[in-house]
């Protein structure tokens, strides 16, 4: 340690899983306040190892690209404050996704699952385009009350990583994609609900969920994918919706 006279709380030790076994994996960085996990990673990059691999873009919880595991929990690095009394944190890459380098993972499996539920609106062709009129849907309609709280998914994969089934790659579409499926099935503007309900009813679908609620606990946007999965299970057998 460069400065032995610093008080406890002025510095933070950070352990980072590295791809190269020979690379340094423990660092000491100055404590700033407020301090997010992203700030600790930037301090490592700026003062210790310019080549350390981690990803971020917006740093305000909107892009969903800085997701890592901090002391085992899947979180956005930019939105996770380092507790006041913490002297040490450990940062690992997300679970269930192949590591490209250090903390950077290949999110392709997550997006593959996302793609499988037909994640885009399938509108009535006559009602779509630059000259079509947006639908009139009241904000307090049953439809919107289901959809609106489930809408701000940023595709960060925290739920995927925290789900024991999805992160073990046990052929499960996973919480984020199922949440998206629920949103579209509930959307009166969409015409592909039957197809999506077929997809979520397959062996990779809703029945793989064991209701551990890791997903809903991990979501940095406060969404509740477990509830979406419960709804989809019900809707499979309920034509009325």
């Amino acid at each position: 340690m460069r400065n032995r006279h610093r008080k406890a709380g002025d510095e933070l030790r950070v352990s980072v899983t590295r791809s190269d076994a020979a690379a340094a994996d423990e660092f000491t960085v100055p404590r700033i306040r407020p301090m997010m996990v992203l700030d600790a990673l930037l301090a490592i990059q700026r003062t210790h190892d310019p080549a350390i691999g981690f990803r971020y873009s917006c740093r305000v919880g909107m892009c969903g690209t800085c997701t890592v595991r901090v002391d085992g929990r899947s979180v956005l690095a930019c939105q996770t404050e380092i507790p006041e009394r913490a002297e040490h944190i450990r940062i690992d890459p997300l679970a269930g996704l192949p590591v490209v380098r250090d903390l950077v993972v290949d999110t392709a499996p997550f997006w593959q699952a996302w793609k499988s539920i037909t994640p885009y609106l399938v509108p009535d062709e006559d009602a779509a385009g630059m000259d079509a009129t947006p639908a009139v849907i009241k904000p307090d309609s049953a439809e919107r009350e289901r959809i609106d709280p489930s809408l701000d998914c940023i595709g960060c994969a925290a739920c995927f990583s925290s789900c024991g089934i999805a992160s073990a790659r046990r052929d499960f579409i996973g919480p984020a994609a199922l949440n998206r499926a629920m949103v579209l099935v509930a959307d009166s503007r969409d015409t592909a609900a039957a197809h999506r309900l077929d997809v979520v009813a397959t062996d990779s679908g809703v029945d793989r969920c064991h209701y551990i609620y890791g997903c809903s606990a991990a979501c940095p946007k406060g969404l509740d994918p477990a509830q979406a999965i419960r709804r989809l299970r019900k809707w499979r057998f309920d034509e009325s919706r």
């Binding site: 700033i32 306040r33 407020p34 997010m36 700030d39 930037l42 990059q45 700026r46 190892d49 310019p50 080549a51 350390i52 691999g53 981690f54 990803r55 971020y56 873009s57 917006c58 740093r59 305000v60 919880g61 909107m62 892009c63 969903g64 690209t65 930019c78 490209v100 380098r101 250090d102 950077v104 999110t107 996302w114 793609k115 994640p119 885009y120 609106l121 509108p123 009602a127 779509a128 385009g129 630059m130 000259d131 079509a132 009129t133 947006p134 639908a135 009139v136 849907i137 009241k138 904000p139 309609s141 959809i147 809408l151 701000d152 998914c153 940023i154 595709g155 959307d187 503007r189 969409d190």
Partner: protein
Amino acid sequence: MSPGEAWPEPETISTDVAVVGSGGAGLMCVLHALSARPDLNVTIVSEGAVGRSGCTRMVQGGYNAVLNPDDSVDLHFRDTLQGGKFLNDQRLAWTLVNDAPRVINELETRVGCFFDRDEDGRIHQKAFAGQAFDRTVHRGDLTGIEIMGRLRDQMFRLEPVELEDVRALDLVHDRVGRLAGLTAIDMRSGRPLVLRARVIVVATGGSATMYRVAAPAREKTGDGVAMCWRAGLAVRDMEMLQFHPTGLLAGDARMTGAVLEEGLRGAGAKLFNADGERYMARYDAERMERSTRDVVARAGYSEIVAGRGTPDGGVLIDISHLGAEEVERRFPGMVQRTRQIGQDLARAPVRVSPTAHFHMGGVLIDADCRTALDGLLVAGEDAGGTHGANRLGGNGVAESTVFGARAGDTAAAIAPHRPLLEPEPAEVRASLERAYAPLGRDAGPWPFPLTTRLKELMWQCVGVVRDAEGLAEASKELDVLAEDVDRIAVPGPPEVNFGWQEAMDLANQVTVARTIAHAAAWRTETRGAHARSDYPDSDSRLRYVVQRRGAADGPVSAIETEVRDVEFSYRAPDGDST
């Protein structure tokens, strides 16, 4: 490795349309190009995650479009010109206001966005500053997630080629100077690429990260403008860099500079200095906090400089008089953002500073996004002229999606008629040599302290308020910095090396910074976002400066200029316009 080179032999890929950037402009361009011509091969080149990097994603407040029969495109046009202090390219501004409602229709009915509704079930439009009508469409206070999330979903339908984590370096020409393609690096593998394309669309976003307090995402380092500049394209209005009046202050945390959205002021938020005075009364007594961004940012800056700021160099925004519950309901994202840094917008004033936000300047284009170089289109923040001297809140995402869509239409129309050309090997080599140099050097500065130097210099000397002395100093220092950037050494492997990325970012930032400082020294008046303490008044004659790279190559190339009169093709300035 090829003999004697510091990089492997580049892989060559051919495509009909290469779209550089995957924000609002880039993905709208893909949507339109592939909708018009599904047989085209369209390739996205994205430095970050596709649809999840850049700034459309970060849009909070919303999107200006005329939807209400009591509103009119003429009124939106007038607001846009008055906000831009009549420096706008009126053809572009007119295109913006006319296309915006149709793009909203498309985002809702085709792309699948769902914007907030009024009680009657029609799209809700909220109040934004500098506008005569409440016309800002939004999804809560984090609108960009909905727009970019749904555009990203469209890519699964349209299936363009996605080159994710691939950084475009330079536009390259064929032997006789026609646009032939671009050079790039796959940042995961660290290997070079040559992309041959019939049409290239540059849509990378702006460069405002070059300031100490700055709002944008990491990637916004002027890459597109710098790329075009090196290829000899002309730029305009480069001195017009917008400071958003309310950026968060969070000490050394990366969160500093993040914007608190404009809708707060639209909803009645008040600004106070550290003495508790509602200072806007001295700057714009009529519009107060709902004045345009340039005025409010300058007022805040002046208070801070005059010693009436908070100890950490800010002023205070307060909306707590609406009641905590109401603030939490209407601005949940903003409340969360402040709580995360130990403040609470719902219950108390929050410390804010002007924050570098958006570049009005950029590459000269026409209303179809064409440039002077055949086959090259530019859309979104990389283009200049739409907003003039100041952009209205809510016109940014409108610009990126409107002109992204137009670029897609144009690309689809011209790609079948443009041949695939052969990039000149010497140009490819020169581009890769520059890009790989920091990895190959044994000794030299790391990029990070140089980035800090650039941000401090721009903030101090080319910031909210400027003068001749500071600008001359900046110009000199930027030349020194450009030479230092040319000596950067980055350790580590070529694979996933963001230190290396920062070295390349910095080279582009300094290139753009030099044009900003140069144009700011030229404009000896105060207009919109460009404030000169030594020239506080506005000239009656409206002119703009077009800049081009001069003959000398290397980090400190000469800047050629041409001064033009603004054309009032639709509307002449009103008496009260400035």
